[in-house]
Symmetry: C2
């Protein structure tokens, strides 16, 4: 089990980051308190994706915030990222583990208790954490499963002993409600990438996750 | 240097294979005499691509025809393919070599003498062969470089000591003309994938490559 602090998990969206760019958005978000960064970009060529991943690795160097690459273990290995996140239509986690070795973090997306139980049937240590969602429908992932809401997320959390993070249209005002499902953190795309001030947005999410003093 | 028989090199196109499917097209093409198969598909999810690569590995098992995966070394490693082919916008060949080890074949696309010379500057053994093209403009690769024709291909061949294969809209009637540039083989997409009878198309290409008796 590779430990990972899932409390405030940023998933990048290159288009939403806009003119500010992905690297500067990530730098601001880390200053604000995100605990993980996942690079997600399905539009770029492999060479451009490697270049972007490399620049995020530099932004994150020394911060203690891990860099996770969505889908592409080739890119994760090429740039020395900390982990890979695979969804239901990506490479199966057992094959990913065989190829990346024991030390990289592997995250896996699930939307149902069945999918979470299937992870429990994999060899011990195949998957380090589960992303559960979508909490609500979101334009950043048009082919996602139907929205689960808090009760649907709670149903999935109840079936797993792995660390979990909820994803899908989560806003700062949702955080306490989402955490009440038992998940270990909230993953966001728009709430930070599309924010006027990504550092402030990250700081507000972080404060909400840490809860009332 | 990993040896590879480049004489008749099939690059798959899932859409052009149509209802016949990629696996059956490849099976027919191998029966006709292709010497290499490259799986190229940028539309599928990673999971679907792995499944397709796995099925081609099964089709090719025992035939002696190697399976090369375009762009995606993750997929190549996952299914135990024989090699990876990377273009100018894919991962750089030196990084690919570091990740896949010495035994996988690495092919690299070049369109100019400059790009071919850049390969010569890489560490010995980074690249096993060069794909040179496009011979002519082709709808299967809309973002390709300007057509080279036979004289442009000959200019690139002259700058390299690596094995070479020409690509880009090559038809059976072009084969002798293309081979006169000094390349070791012809790579085709449409000439086999879009043929009414892919086995016969492959056999005719093979006969043309072997030349007049």
């Amino acid at each position: 089990m590779n430990p990972i602090d899932l409390r405030v998990y940023l998933v990048t969206d290159t288009a939403l980051c806009g003119a500010r760019g992905v690297s500067d958005t990530v730098r601001a978000a880390v200053a604000g308190g995100v605990t993980v960064v996942q690079l997600r970009d399905h539009a770029e060529s492999t060479r451009a994706l490697c270049r972007l991943a490399e620049s995020l690795r530099e932004v994150l160097a020394g911060t203690g915030v891990p860099l996770i690459i969505d889908d592409r273990l080739d890119v994760a290995l090429a740039v020395g990222a900390d982990g890979v996140h695979v969804g239901q239509s990506d490479m199966d986690p057992r094959t990913v583990r065989r190829l990346v070795g024991p030390d990289l973090v592997i995250g896996h997306s699930v939307s149902t208790p069945q999918e979470a139980r299937a992870v429990a049937d994999l060899p011990e240590g195949s998957v380090d954490y589960l992303g559960i969602g979508p909490f609500r429908a979101t334009p950043t992932k048009p082919n996602a499963a139907a929205p689960l809401g808090a009760s649907g997320i709670a149903d999935v959390v109840a079936t797993t002993s792995l660390p979990t993070v909820a994803i899908g249209g989560i806003k700062q005002v949702d955080v306490r409600h989402v955490l009440a499902t038992g998940v270990g953190g909230v993953a966001v795309v728009s709430a930070i990438c599309a924010a006027d001030d990504p550092q402030r947005a990250a700081a507000e999410l972080r404060a909400s996750v840490e809860g009332p003093a």
